[in-house]
């Protein structure tokens, strides 16, 4: 999270923090463990009223940013989502809304409902193994007269079971196409999955001969490679920002613990063997902040290095977020691996964000390809 937040951004961030502290304190999160939606009733709509869904959607669609840089504003929410292990499909909903808005005015009603929090439209991109490497798309979207036909499976789809509609990425004659698919369209089968996160839900979504009118296509038929790449970057950046928030909270809890916990008559914070590990964690934490914010700025500017910055942020926070979270558990000792302690809430979120929208290994492969100069 950047240091140079404007007063408006800070007000916006604090409003979200107050809301999360009231609506989703850790006791509530624990109670949502087996809830199918993973959020209190009315929670997402009220979050939408705070601005969680409007930042990447232009004013023409009822959206608008706080600072003029919608992603910079949204990363503040993502950071707090991580720091509070907050419920809600923040990343996938915003990527889907951004995709629809970027494609023009064809899907205004869906955008309006999504921005208001009345309906949930999510991005269905990742596929099951062996097609699970970042950027691999085997679902097909085939033109057929005035229709297109969608076939294939997406898994895991964040908030897939509660979604009203999906933006689905598929292949068309060697190019990419995206379509907007109502969750109740014939041929759509949604199977809820169990996730590592306490409140973030996911599903496997199968599309068997799903027939949609041409008007369901988002952007150009067969020409969506560029937009999809932007969406992959966006999802990676939001994961990185959320992970950084969860790292910050884990670290702060653990530093406090190190001062308060005494062993052999001394606080843990006085042992050099542990102090040096806290120093390493502080480096990972500050570097994660820096990498995430730099990636967000590059995306907003549509800079030439946006791709590399997004992958660097995702790969770095994925690797070192998990290292930091596990080290925080280690510093706590036995209490750190209990359900009773709060640490696992953040470890879970970090772990989830690590595996979706490309693992650290996937993003390292992408970085190598970028450096080599391939149009990967």
């Amino acid at each position: 999270m950047r240091f140079d937040r404007t007063p408006d951004q800070e007000f916006f961030r604090e409003t979200t923090v107050r809301f999360l502290e009231e609506q989703a304190p850790v006791a509530t999160l624990r109670g949502l463990r087996d809830d199918p939606v993973g959020a209190p009733p009315g929670y997402w709509r009220r979050g939408a009223e705070l601005g969680w869904t409007s930042l990447l959607v232009g004013e023409a669609h009822g959206g608008g940013s706080i600072s003029g840089d919608g992603l910079a504003d949204l990363t503040l929410v993502a950071h707090e989502f991580g720091a509070h292990a907050a419920p809600g499909p923040l990343i996938t909903a915003n990527v889907a809304l951004s995709a629809l808005a970027a494609a023009g005015s064809d899907h205004a009603a869906t955008i309006a409902a999504g921005v208001a929090g009345d309906a949930r439209c999510v991005w269905a991109h990742g596929e099951p193994a062996p097609a699970d490497r970042l950027g691999t798309v085997t679902c097909t979207i085939t033109p057929d007269g005035d229709d297109v036909v969608l076939d294939g499976t997406k898994r895991p789809v964040e908030a897939g079971a509660e979604a009203d509609a999906f933006v689905v990425t598929g292949a068309t004659d060697g190019g990419l196409t995206q379509v907007l698919v109502p969750a109740d369209a014939p041929g759509v089968t949604v199977t809820p999955l169990t996730t590592v996160d306490l409140t973030r839900r996911a599903a496997a979504v199968a599309f068997a001969g799903v027939r949609l009118p041409r008007s369901a296509v988002v952007g150009p038929l067969g020409g969506a490679a560029g937009p999809v790449r932007r969406q992959e970057q966006l999802a990676a950046i939001l994961c990185a920002a959320e992970t950084t928030g969860a790292m910050q909270r884990s670290f702060d809890l653990t530093v406090e613990w190190a001062f308060d916990r005494y062993s052999f008559g001394r606080p843990l914070a006085s042992y050099q063997a542990l102090k040096h590990r806290f120093a390493d964690m502080k480096v990972w934490l500050e570097a994660s902040h820096a990498a995430s914010d730099a990636a967000a700025a590059a995306w907003s500017a549509d800079a030439p290095d946006a791709d590399a910055r997004a992958s660097a942020a995702k790969a770095y926070t994925g690797e070192f977020g998990a290292e930091l979270a596990h080290d925080c558990v280690q510093m706590h000792g036995g209490i750190g691996v209990t359900f009773e302690h709060d640490l696992h809430l953040y470890l879970r979120r970090i772990t989830w964000d690590r595996v979706v929208y490309g693992t650290p290994a996937d993003h390292r492969q992408r970085l190598a390809a970028l450096l080599i100069g391939e149009a990967a």
Partner: protein, 427 residues
Amino acid sequence: MSAEVDTTTAEPVEDFRARARSFIGANLRAVGRRGRGDFSRHLPDDEELAVVARAREVQRLLWNHDLAGVCVPREYGGLGLTPAHQQALNEELAGYEFPRHLQTPTMSPCMAVLLDFGTHEQKLRHIPAILRGEEIWIQFLSEPSSGSDVAGALTSAVRDGDEWVLNGSKVWSTGAWWSDWALCLARTNWDVPKHRGLTVFMFPIHQPAVEIQRIEMLNGNREFCQEFMTDLRVPDTDRIGEVDQGWTVGIRWMFHERMAMAHNEPVMTWPADGAAGFSGPTVLVDVAREVGRLDDPVARDLIGRSYMTSLVGEPLQRRLAEGMAGGHLSDQAASIARLHGWEVTKAAMTVPFELAGAAGGAWSDADDTLFGLGQGFLVRQAIAIAGGTVEMARNVISERVLGMPREAASDRDVAFRDVPRGPTGRP
């Protein structure tokens, strides 16, 4: 320094950039990977001296064309411009030679310390000379008995009228044998705790009372030196800062040293593509291509991870600078960049070697991309030691940034002469 710049009358950055570009194109030589000078290749002395002479010449050219001392105040011969101007010069220098041998320690920490603590006369005497390439400076800081424990210096300075008499030994001074002036931390009071009995002096190093010996590193590099001062007489007018207050100077000195190592010093000129003497992660691609491993996913994972680590470096430095300037982070947070910088360098010196396979262990003069990769690997830890070890950085981060309890020390609140020194710590 930059705070004093009147941005309404200063030369616009883009005008400055255009001026720098035309100067560079007309006067400087383009260089390749080896031209940047890396740890693996060491030159015979006569070639080394020629390289240093060229560095002085390039510095003089910069001076002649009003491009030297970008962020140094005008009254001391600089241009009095902003870090943004310096950054423009650094960007324009990408791919070209630059006065590498005059940057660190000359510009920073030495000149930076002079700017912070020197008298008006001291600055007038030395800073324009430095900017003209006439004075190369060296740090007399570490001692054989104290590496990380810099304040444990045993070199003594005893007052004799208007002069001081120095005796002792300093070590790890890079290129002292071709340098001109030294900045030296010495003990002036043995009856107070160690931080309260130090004073900083400056003196020319080529004089009979200073003997310079060169140290051969494990890769054959002979740039580091050890010096022995025997009854060296220094006039009191060449004292920097107050008597016994040398640690006040020393703290800033080491702050500048860390900033210099992180290439985060506005008084330094450093091509945007020249971090630490490596040409960055693209060399990894060159090595992998050379050995036919460009399509190997394992090689790509190493390349991607190295690229990731280096991409994080610049935003991290920017964040830390902003955080320190805005009071969000302790001034000691520069140690965070030092520790991350080590990760970047470690990858830069390990991954090419790893990619090269057996060619990392045996090469010929005919090799280019694969030349000397094994030497870089062998000497890798030097980067984790020089300019303050990474262990010291971890102490600083945990104690100064996070506020954790300090390590127990047997030299606190004790007269320095009574501090235990062990068999290697005898003067």
